[in-house]
Symmetry: C2
Subunit: 112 residues, 2 copies
Amino acid sequence: MKQAIVARTDIGMGQGKLAAQVAHASLSAYEDADSRTRKAWKGSGQKKVVLKGSGESELFELADRAESERLPHAIIRDAGHTQLDSGTVTTLAVGPGEDEVVDRVTGHLSLF
Amino acid sequence: MKQAIVARTDIGMGQGKLAAQVAHASLSAYEDADSRTRKAWKGSGQKKVVLKGSGESELFELADRAESERLPHAIIRDAGHTQLDSGTVTTLAVGPGEDEVVDRVTGHLSLF
């Protein structure tokens, strides 16, 4: 099992900002999962991959695909205290879910 | 309320790796919190800051301080599939907790 987190490359997030937004997405999608899925993922080491997304529209398309696959997912908008305008979409987390199902949504993306 | 995640600067993690390890620590410390603390933090926007840690010994010292302050916390070791040797300590998450209590542990560190 795994969780894939897609982060935008086109908005110039610093390293710390990127990490915080990825963590935010990861936790939110985790909370969107049922308890059986959560337990299975944690029991298998809560594998995560961080992937590159080209922009806001790609993140929304991937979220639609995750929805079709019935995968837990979460889109994050930045609160805008620093660096980015308030409401800027930054990250999308897909899963936890079975590797092959998550790959149907994000398997074509490059590692961040 | 906030959560602080301290990441080592001395082991040369790439951006994606750093983000995944920060997310791992964030989720693990979150799970170490009681349900009232979890809800309060989420309700206030689950604020996170990512901070610089100089090395493994500093992370362990900060974890001891978090323990003394009775803050939820989690030290993460990398599974070692990529980039790092298996078992390398990468990150420490402290909180969620009240800002001033978290600051007693990590307030002196720089933003990542």
